[in-house]
């Protein structure tokens, strides 16, 4: 159940700034089938008209107009390459990806299996090291960072939501959320914990272990864990991939709500075009490159 509690996230402040920056961030009502009636979206975040692009501008190649690109992006990749090694053979997963995400944006990355969308997400999240190019997350260049620095960045600025939920099986829901706070280093904040768990409708399920929860509940715990430390970005890797339709809708609505009400920046990978409709814009990938950036609606 969504309770719609308002929390003052830093990212919310960013989105408010974006609104007044004159970069085309005027609110407009989307015509999205799912979101149109519920959510007011910010037009500046990647709703692109193809005829208005400058393909020499990385911002535009990633689906942004000149006007929109004046807002400082929170994620920037330029000519990003990621090579995997299969024996002596180099297998490129990303082949010069240029991608930008503005603060407060909800972006979906779509594409067929093996197109490199997960690799892109993991490189942005610092779970994988880029082979070449530039990756800036909130101004931090991940390419020059070592594993410890990337871990620290992840701890403070990124929240992950995975397809397989990835909850710690030995901890209950409360422990799974609280451990992120503990790792963050500020200790347990009961007020924030209460707000987040209430927001995600988990209050009654906190003493249950992952094995005792439904997929939807597990994913909501994962979302709570991802947002408990107020990260700058949430990276969601097929968050509805293991869920039925009803739970998928709940999870996507929650992500949408987090984005809309709290200004949370979200990058989500999905195969599902319906899931993409919850986002501000969708980016398509094929063979390790972004092939377009089309509005979700």
């Amino acid at each position: 159940m969504l309770c719609g509690v308002k929390i003052c996230f830093p990212s919310y402040q960013i989105s408010k700034q974006s609104e007044s920056s004159g970069c085309g961030n005027k609110p407009f009502h989307t015509s999205s089938k799912r979101t149109g009636s519920k959510f007011t979206r910010f037009a500046g975040y990647g709703l692109v008209r193809k005829g208005n692009r400058d393909y020499n501008n990385p911002a535009c190649r990633s689906g942004l107009t000149h006007k929109e690109s004046r807002v400082e992006p929170i994620v920037v990749t330029e000519n990003l390459w990621k090579l995997y090694h299969a024996g002596k053979v180099e297998v490129p997963a990303l082949r010069g990806v240029n991608f930008r995400v503005l603060p407060g944006e909800f972006v979906t990355v779509m594409g067929p299996s093996g197109c490199g969308k997960s690799s892109l997400l993991y490189v942005i999240g610092g779970l994988a090291q880029a082979s070449r190019g530039k990756v800036l997350v909130d101004g931090n260049d991940l390419v020059t960072m070592n594993d410890s620095e990337r871990t620290k960045l992840r701890r403070h600025k990124i929240g992950f939501v995975f397809q397989r939920f990835n909850l710690l099986p030995t901890l209950d829901a409360r422990g799974n959320i609280a451990i992120a706070q503990h790792i963050y280093g500020d200790g347990f904040d009961p007020h924030r914990f209460e707000v987040v768990t209430k927001l995600l409708g988990l209050t009654e399920r906190l003493r249950h272990r992952p094995s005792e929860m439904s997929g939807g509940e597990q994913q909501r715990v994962a979302i709570a864990r991802a947002i408990i430390n107020e990260p700058k970005i949430i990276l969601a890797d097929e968050p509805t991939g293991n869920l039925d339709t009803q739970n998928s809708e709940i999870v996507l609505s929650m992500l949408r709500q987090l984005n809309k009400e709290l200004g949370q920046t979200i990058v989500m990978i999905t195969h599902n075009p319906e899931a993409a409709e919850y986002s501000d814009r969708a980016v398509h990938m094929r063979d390790g490159v972004i092939v377009d950036g089309i509005p979700a609606d």
Partner: protein, 366 residues
């Protein structure tokens, strides 16, 4: 929070955890019991020798403080020479014979009269003093252990002795036979292993020793008030090496079990490690979580080990009343430190391995 994770992880595989705890417990118990057995025996022996009540002990040159290792190279006539010294009140020659038939025993061959003069005499619980050449006195602990009764026969050194009396323990040995009989049985006619000397007053001990030294150059002349401190593992050749070897063996058991247990834990929990890394857990955090598990297992193992030690001591003493096992707080602490160090060392490599795991590969692990 990290302790909640640690405790829950330890509880996740109860059988593996219990096996690890038992291994650490056995390690701790081995250390405590081996040291307790050796130090207990040494201390109990020392107390018994002190209990003779002599002031000085004379042994042949280079003789060990451990009387059981002494031969019988001294002529018994030395006793007469000692009696001539100023301040010497009584001298008791004793022939020692080590016997391993029916248990490990040190037999004292004594002259009842001189031994009584030095020691003040036995306290008889049953029976009477030695009267014939085949009489034997047995102390109460040995009597209980060997089911000996007064009037019965006690076979020792291929000789049947008649149990004349059961005496209170604490007068040197547990078995006493006439010195002449023991000399015959051991082929040491007119020989003694040690002379116990009683002075007219204890304060004269140093004066007597000073007088003895030029007469018996090279001989071991020891005041018995220092005997307890001399009866330590460091003075018994090879004992320290034995104790160290047994401790090393115990530590190796604990180390290997913890290493194996934590290694399988890390393999099994690869995905969890990936999850922790994905939410920003540092290498140090992951190492701390795994080492914490090892510490928890070791702490419980130490408690179990101490419990096993006391139970084992109780069982040993009920089966072998002549044994003495000294469980000292000092060695309990040392055993705990040894177990914790071994456990930490054993968990270090798996923990390091876990901290180095690639987050992405770990997340893909099934």
């Amino acid at each position: 929070m990290i302790w909640q994770l640690i405790v829950n992880n330890v509880m996740r595989r109860p059988v593996r955890t219990v096996v690890s705890i038992i291994a650490v417990g056995v390690e701790v118990a081995l250390v405590i019991l081996i040291v307790g057995l050796t130090s207990g025996l040494l201390q109990e022996t020392a107390k018994r020798i002190e209990g003779i009540g002599a002031d000085i002990m004379l042994q042949p040159p280079s003789a060990s403080v451990f009387l059981a290792f002494s031969g019988a190279p001294m002529p018994i006539k030395i006793a007469d020479r000692l009696r001539e010294l100023k301040y010497v009140q009584a001298v008791a020659p004793v022939l020692l014979q080590f016997s391993s038939s029916g248990g490990v025993d040190v037999i004292y061959g004594i002259d009842p009269k001189s031994f009584r003069e030095v020691s003040g005499g036995f306290v008889f619980l049953e029976g009477h003093d030695m009267e014939g050449p085949d009489d034997i006195l047995v102390d109460d602990w040995a009597a209980k252990a060997k089911n000996v009764t007064v009037g019965g026969t006690f076979r020792l050194l291929d000789h049947d002795f008649h149990v004349a009396g059961i005496v209170e323990h604490g007068k040197g040995a547990r078995l006493f036979v006439p010195i002449a009989t023991l000399q015959d049985l051991s082929g040491s006619r007119d020989k003694a292993s040690v002379f116990f000397i009683k002075n007219t007053r204890p304060e004269h001990t140093q004066a007597v020793i000073d007088e003895m030294k030029p007469i018996f150059p090279g001989y071991e002349i020891r005041p018995l008030k220092d005997f307890l401190s001399l009866m330590s593992a460091t003075n018994l050749p090879g004992l320290n090496a034995f104790i160290d070897s047994m401790i090393a063996l115990a530590v190796a058991i604990g180390f290997l079990v913890i290493l194996l247990s934590m290694y399988t834990t890390v393999i099994e929990r690869t995905r969890d490690i990936g999850i922790l890394k994905s939410i920003g857990a540092s290498k140090a955090y992951i190492m701390r979580a795994l080492l914490g598990e090892s510490i928890l297992i070791c702490v419980i193992g130490v408690g179990v080990g101490i419990f096993i030690s006391y139970v084992a001591r109780m069982m040993f003493l009920s089966s072998f009343p002549t044994l003495s096992i000294l469980i000292s707080p000092d060695w309990i602490v040392r055993a705990a430190v040894i177990a914790l160090s071994g456990g930490l060392l054993g968990a270090s490599y798996p923990a390091w391995l876990a901290s180095r795991k690639d987050a992405l590969e770990s997340l893909s692990y099934d």
